[in-house]
Amino acid sequence: MDKEELKNKIYAFMEKYKGKKKLKEKDVCKGVAEETGVTQDEVKKALREMIDAGRLMYSYGGGASSVEIPSEEYLKEKGLA
């Protein structure tokens, strides 16, 4: 699968769970790998690129780390909005 396409799938996966369930990095890798048939490692690599670019972000709450779609505020602060 083309990397951009995979990133879009990851983003769609994140949107599906937004506000419903906090997703750990591993949940995203497992979930997207199951949906798309690519390996978890490939998902992880794409996910990391998205985080580096600010398309996704790490967050912390409820005693655990998770991955989220960034807020406007976050993007503005990182100079990405």
């Binding site: 369930k21 906090k22 409820g62 005693g63 655990a64």
Partner: protein, 356 residues
């Protein structure tokens, strides 16, 4: 304003660039050390080289001004080298013996306390407390200050049977891992949390919150799309609050501290041990917590008067028995002392042999 180029995943600087030349030269080749005073020692290498260490107390919470003051001193006497210990003391590393006494004089003039090496109370391991933590149910820095004002002599001069490691944790999360200290204070809640159902509905995952409870006191409340707590099962640990902040565990009238005793880390003579409850509860009493300070001092002094040389607090108690400890320390024994959590059955006395 332009910023320098950021770098990622580089890790800390390699330690060797911060080691004084005499340490670099004799790295791994130390032969022995001698304690010269409660606040100083000398390490001697196989080569005959020596390094002197002067240890001073620190509140751990330091302003940049004070760090610079330490730097000024280290520049003057230690060729610009110093370190911090695992208990947050500051150690000045002296390579030239002629600078040792002048350093000690200057530290004294500046009002810094030297001590903590050998059979003494050392700096107190502690957590953030009200200074900076969301889950604190007391102030750790404040308790440490009150405690050490009272016990300062045991840091600077007075000897004990062995070292006594004190610690303060401002909640049961124990960032300071006080659970294996000779004497430690741990703050705790004593009231069932109050649930803000509207916020729980919006902020928390119900299954995760239910699963967070170590005593299975939490169950879903489908009508409110929230959770409910079986009050008689709640031990106020606050793990649910961490997972779901609208379950408010803080209660200024109910929060306070317990004192635990007899833990140790090292394997010397006997295996490492957990600390156990001596005083189950004191109300928070800032700014000086007089009852808590008196209780810690009581335990320390009873230990000092009764233990054999080299016995740690926990080894002394193991030898005399807990029933004797409670009597000697004049601490009333209550329901709160008898365990009813995970490992309770291992703690019951399964012998008819004990002391009156």
């Amino acid at each position: 304003m332009s910023l320098p180029q950021r770098r990622t995943d580089i890790g800390p600087p390699k330690y060797d660039q911060f080691l004084p030349p005499v340490i670099k030269k004799n790295y791994g080749q130390w032969k022995y050390h001698e304690r010269l005073s409660p606040g100083s020692m000398v390490h001697v290498a196989e080569s005959g080289d020596k390094i002197w260490t002067v240890r001073v107390a620190s509140p751990r919470l330091l302003s940049t001004d004070t760090i610079r003051e330490f730097c000024d001193i280290a520049d003057k006497y230690c060729d610009g080298y110093l370190r911090f210990t695992s208990r947050n003391n500051v150690e000045f590393l002296v390579s030239d013996e002629s600078k040792l006494a002048p350093l000690q004089n200057e530290l004294k003039e500046r009002g810094m306390l030297m001590g903590g090496i050998g059979p003494h109370v050392s700096n107190v391991i502690h957590t953030q407390g009200w200074v900076h933590c969301h889950s604190a149910c007391t102030d750790a820095s404040g308790l440490v200050k009150c405690l050490m004002d009272e016990l300062a002599e045991y840091f600077t001069t007075k000897e004990l049977p062995n070292k006594v490691r004190l610690a303060v944790a401002c909640c049961v999360n124990m960032c300071g891992a006080v659970h294996c200290s000779d004497i430690a204070i741990v703050a705790l809640h004593t009231k069932v949390p109050v649930i803000d159902h509207d916020k729980v509905k919006n902020m928390c995952e119900i299954p995760t919150t239910v699963a967070s409870c170590p005593t299975s006191a939490i169950s879903p409340d489908p009508a409110k799309k929230s959770i409910k707590i079986k009050e008689e099962k709640c031990m106020y640990c606050g793990n649910c609050f961490t997972v779901c902040p609208p379950i408010e565990i803080h209660n200024p009238e109910g929060d306070g501290v317990a004192i635990v005793v007899g833990g140790k880390i090292g394997s010397l003579r006997s295996d490492p041990k957990f600390s156990k409850i001596a005083y189950p509860f004191f109300y928070n009493d800032p700014p000086r917590w007089p009852k808590v300070v008196a209780a810690v001092k009581n335990i320390l002094e009873v230990y000092a008067a009764n233990a054999k040389k080299h016995e740690r607090v926990g080894e002394w108690i193991d030898r005399i028995g807990w029933e004797r400890f409670f009597k000697l320390a004049n601490i009333p024994f209550t329901f709160q002392h008898i365990d009813d959590f995970t490992f309770a059955r291992e703690t019951f006395r399964t012998s008819a042999a004990f002391k009156w």
